[in-house]
Amino acid sequence: MAIDILMPALSPTMEQGKLAKWLKKEGDQVKPGDVLAEIETDKATMEVEAIDEGVLAKILVSDGTDNVAVNTPIAILAGEGEDVSAAASSAKAPAASAPEAQPAPTPDIQAEGLADRPAPAERPQQADVSTPAAPSVITNRTSYNAMAEIPEGTELVNMTVREALRDAMAEEMRKDGSVFVMGEEVAEYQGAYKVTQGLLQEFGAKRVIDTPITEHGFAGVGVGAAFTGLRPVVEFMTFNFAMQAIDQIINSAAKTLYMSGGQLGAPIVFRGPNGAAARVGAQHSHDYAAWYSNVPGLKVVAPYTASDAKGLLKSAIRDPNPIVFLENEILYGQSFPVPKLDDFTVPIGKARIHREGKDVTIVSFSIGMTYALKAAQELEKEGIDAEVIDLRTIRPMDTDTIVASVMKTGRCITVEEGFPQSGVGAEIVARIMENAFDYLDAPVIRVTGKDVPMPYAANLEKLALPNVAEVVQAAKAVCYR
């Protein structure tokens, strides 16, 4: 019987990719292990190998097709002894009906939370995603006050978070010869998540340095180099691996300025993906925002949008202090408008009101913003006007912006993927208690990741993470609705 060959996923987070090239043509005999085609994403390239023996009866998705969704049939294989033309005509769903050709999500689509983790089986909103790409103009309820930092009339360019981070590093490296990037697979491999793509080619092996797998060691090397005034950008493949290096981050980088009476600081950026990706289990899914935010001597940054990622990373590289820069793998591939400016920076320590509202304040950061913004849209339908604050920097925390908002709305919830105890939400609650207690009309509620190590099973993982319904429910609870 005819076998559908499906578009494979290169990684747990991949949703779509480009069918770069067919290496077999219709009518070719195929045996297991034969390379059929090459597919590409912005992160990686992979060969599609045949699993079954047969004849390539029909190619459903042609060479060079972009945005082919994972699990879309891309070809049909006729089994042994099967009639090839009959197999070919068995194609149920030609490429045209596959959910391909998704445009780059617009900020408003981001706001609707449609860029959630891939869950192909249940994506009722799929149709919404194919809304035509909006021009790079911020429209509708999302006030997107980030743009307050940008001169009026500035051109905006859609860009992924990944590209924004790369551009930030490249721009700072062009400006300052003391900036260099080091980490595992940052150079020849072009970055485990392709964040450092092209840097080796532009800046050479002296400034884009592949390290051995040796987090503790290279974190210390980075801090030592920073003591002398160089400005290392140390990439951890994930912040889970930085646990091997956390002694150098905290004991050496964060404390030395104080212990030296102000003589010796460490202008260093530790960056990499933090928190859960998808289906990678407990040791690759931990959100460390609360951990690092506990430490005086560090600044902790966790951007959500591409524009903030770029502007904050540039500020971080210029900052004379050690910075923990927490990225998110799910966000890497998401697109946002980024101002086209020669030197765009975002100040560290300033939150942004992403969406203005008057009934309840939702405070979040990084990928937590996807739940918060989607929830705000849901709440709007029920007549609740939510204000959404993107912290952007966890330490120093912008208490003023939170407090001003709570004074206005009288109600607050926090949203994060990290654990509940001693989490970022707990800190926000404490600050509201200390600074705006009399303005509260309801106790603050935290929406967090559940208090369990991240499970692997898809259903359990989904349960362990916060979701939009929980945010909506919490917001309604503090509004007594």
Partner: protein, 353 residues
Amino acid sequence: MAVAARKAGRAGTGAANKTTSTKGSIRGAAPNSPQFDKNQDLSAYNEMLLIRRFEEKSGQMYGMGLIGGFCHLYIGQEAVVVGMQMATKEGDQVITGYRDHGHMLACGMDAKGVMAELTGRRGGLSKGKGGSMHMFSKEKHFYGGHGIVGAQVSLGTGIAFANHYRENGNVCLTYFGDGAANQGQVYESFNMAQLWKLPVVYVIENNRYAMGTAVSRASAQTDFSKRGVSFGIPGEQVDGMDIRAVYAAGQRAIEHARSGKGPYILEMQTYRYRGHSMSDPAKYRTKDEVTRMREEHDPIEQVRRRLLEGWKLSEDELKAIDSRVREIVNEAAEFATHDPEPDPSELYTDILL
């Protein structure tokens, strides 16, 4: 004063080989130890004596309650840091662990500032905020003073990385003990240093005990000079009680690193007379062992004999040196006792730039 003497010693290094005629007259010299000229011996004596007297005073002040927390004395190990420092040139950096007072003095940091840091006063080198284990001086190229055992090895490798990056020709001397030598990051650092040919000399001060654990009870390979073998890093064992041997090995190692050949390991076989810190039970070794080391191998006594018997200095001349050193130490102690504590407003300064 002591610093001036050291400079004189350095200036005299060119004449080191001209003093071989005195070789036979020096008792206790190892057969193959290269000889020092008079200036070098004088300088070595001054420097080591300063550290010895400073540390004795520190111990005394700790006993008086003027110094708090931990206080790790360097007594017995003076030849290591003084000999190595003699082999450096301006710009070379030093980084070490928590037994760091000797290194700071050898780098030329002000004795008053060091002592006032031990007493936690505002005139301390870290304004009283670092303490015994945490002092730094960019001016003297001293990068600490680190309380986490082994952390300085990666950090020192990073300083060497910066030298390599800047192509400035400087070498970083990275000191650690036989205890730290068992930390994982030491080998992560060895690997990178050799891979990238970084200008770093790893000086392992093997004083035989990691706190109270004898080397043989903690280390499968007790020859620390071989700890770089699997990375192809050359190493040698050095009589760390003989400053001439230290200096000669230091020159070889530093030259190797400076010439672009990568890291070098020196295992300095040394001994600490005092406990690990001030609250040491002294149950893990015999008094006899300590006495024997002091009497037969004392690094300062070796130089003192050369000065008296080889260079024919008089007891009075040595006494004059001793009293000048005591004066420096007493002044430091006096300053550190009466300097005020940091202003309370200092609590919240120097956290971020």
